[in-house]
């Protein structure tokens, strides 16, 4: 089952294990320049507001209601990353593991393949919680992704349109599978009380910061350093008979108020404004083995590349920057260390 709480999706499997819970958040961020350079991780600028589509049924297209799930607003000038984290179980000194498959426009963000329920190991088409703390874009090659950026669905830029030629789905699709209970209990035995170090549960970050809904799709933006880690467990460890999935529709921020009556978040800064203020970028370090990029995704054209081919200027603000203030984050994140900066 999936609950929505404070703009956070909570995937819970009490029928598998009382601690089988993971959290998924969509984080706002700036759009890194789409200029062929490789950038470090941009910051988190707070969570996108998530709302049930059913609550605004009278103002949404029928197809949104058929898919169920939730929706959020996005400006064309912004980007997103997906934050993934589990529930820390102090008696076993671990987080409950999950396999999570993520797609945009029903195109898998790790493999570039069309959506299907289930997970596969060759090629691996999912990420693992807690190994993968976030996903910022499409896996174009080993150690590099292209950022998830917003483009109007139908404009031809989205990964879905580039691969399938159709602008049918848009949005984000997520399916989560918990680790089998018996595998979890065997892999992570309970530790004696005296062995439990004083360690607090990882807290969630503080957020900072009848018309048709013009739908947005996600397209490949600038290049960024990010590794997608190989499943450290194995395909047989996941309870593929138990899963929850969610369709997340994206509405253009400009019509968010007319759909929901709420103002959308303020416009994000440009990469140039952010860097000029010497605010931090991030570099995540974990020496675990990473997946190679998928050929299909490697063949995608970035928004800037496709715009240049079409004689279009889809990115009015795309100035190159040189991040100077880069904070290194090691794999064992400290409490609240989640790429968020105060504004």
């Amino acid at each position: 089952m999936i609950f929505l709480e404070h703009d956070r999706l909570i995937f819970s499997f009490p029928e598998v294990h009382e601690n089988a819970t993971c959290h998924i958040e969509l984080m706002r961020t700036l759009r890194i320049p789409d200029d062929g350079k490789d950038y470090p991780l941009p910051p988190g600028l707070g969570r996108f507001p998530l709302r049930y589509v059913d609550d605004f049924a009278h103002r949404l297209p029928e197809s949104w209601l058929t898919r169920g799930g939730v929706m959020f607003p996005m400006y064309q000038s912004e980007a997103l990353w997906i934050r993934l984290y589990g529930t820390f179980i102090s008696t076993r000194e671990t987080y409950y593991p999950f396999a999570v498959k993520i797609a945009t426009g029903k195109i898998n963000a790790v493999t570039g393949e069309a959506w299907a329920d289930g997970i596969s190991e060759a090629p691996q088409d999912y990420v693992v919680i807690p190994k993968q703390p976030w996903l910022d874009g499409y896996t174009v090659e080993k150690g590099f992704i292209r950022q998830f950026v917003a483009m109007p669905l139908g404009s031809g830029y989205s990964a879905e349109e580039q691969i399938t030629g159709e602008a049918e789905h848009g949005g984000i699709q997520i399916i989560a599978y918990p680790m089998k209970r018996e595998v979890f209990e065997e892999r992570f035995p309970e530790v004696k009380d005296s062995d439990i170090r004083v360690r607090s549960k990882m807290k969630s970050p503080k957020a900072m910061g009848t018309e048709r809904a013009p739908a947005m799709g996600l397209a490949p933006g600038g290049r960024m350093k990010q590794e997608i880690y190989i499943d450290p467990y194995g395909i047989d460890d996941w309870d593929t008979g138990k899963f929850s999935r969610c369709f997340i529709a994206i509405a253009n921020s400009l019509v968010w108020r007319s759909i929901t009556g709420e103002n959308p978040p303020t416009m994000p800064p440009t990469a140039e404004e952010y860097t000029r203020m010497d605010l931090p970028w991030f570099d995540y370090y974990d020496d675990a083995p990473a997946l190679n990029g998928a050929d299909t995704l490697k063949g995608l054209k970035s928004v800037a590349e496709l715009g240049a081919e079409n004689g279009d200027a889809p990115l009015p603000e795309n100035q190159s920057v040189t991040p100077g203030n880069i904070i290194a984050i090691r794999k064992d994140l400290k409490e609240n260390q989640v790429r968020e900066e105060k504004w």
């Binding site: 089952m1 999936i2 049930y52 209601l65 898919r67 169920g68 029903k106 929850s244 999935r245 369709f247």
Partner: protein
């Protein structure tokens, strides 16, 4: 004063009949598979509410929530009863603990993100 099951069904049916003559006692009774005289008696409180199956058909005719109509008739749907029977102590405690909570709290406790067709 709160309406009885019969009074509520009658008022709702008459309301619909104002714009659609097919909501006469005779035609509604025919569509849900009972005698018009029986439905008329139920509406006037002279007969007990009908079976769960008929109440569900009536709810669909009147565009009403079947659980609400069942509750007005003093009944609980069979599927809910089955759920309670599987873990009676747990669900009895849950319902008693939630009975004074505002709707918003209950909605928060029970609401899940709906997965649709995609």
């Amino acid at each position: 004063m709160t309406k009885t099951f019969g009074e509520y069904v009658r008022s709702r049916r008459e309301e619909l009949r104002l714009t659609d003559p097919s909501y006469s006692v005779r035609q509604v009774a025919y569509r849900i598979g009972v005698q018009p005289a029986y439905l008329s008696s139920v509406e006037r409180g002279l007969q007990s509410p009908p079976s769960e199956e008929k109440i569900r058909l009536l709810a669909r005719e009147l565009n009403e929530d079947p659980d609400v109509l069942l509750a007005m008739a003093g009944k609980v749907s069979a599927d809910l009863l089955e759920v309670i029977r599987t873990r009676p102590k747990l669900f009895a405690r849950l319902i008693r603990e939630l009975k004074h909570q505002p709707d918003r709290t209950i909605d928060h406790v029970t609401r899940q993100v709906r997965d649709g067709d995609w």
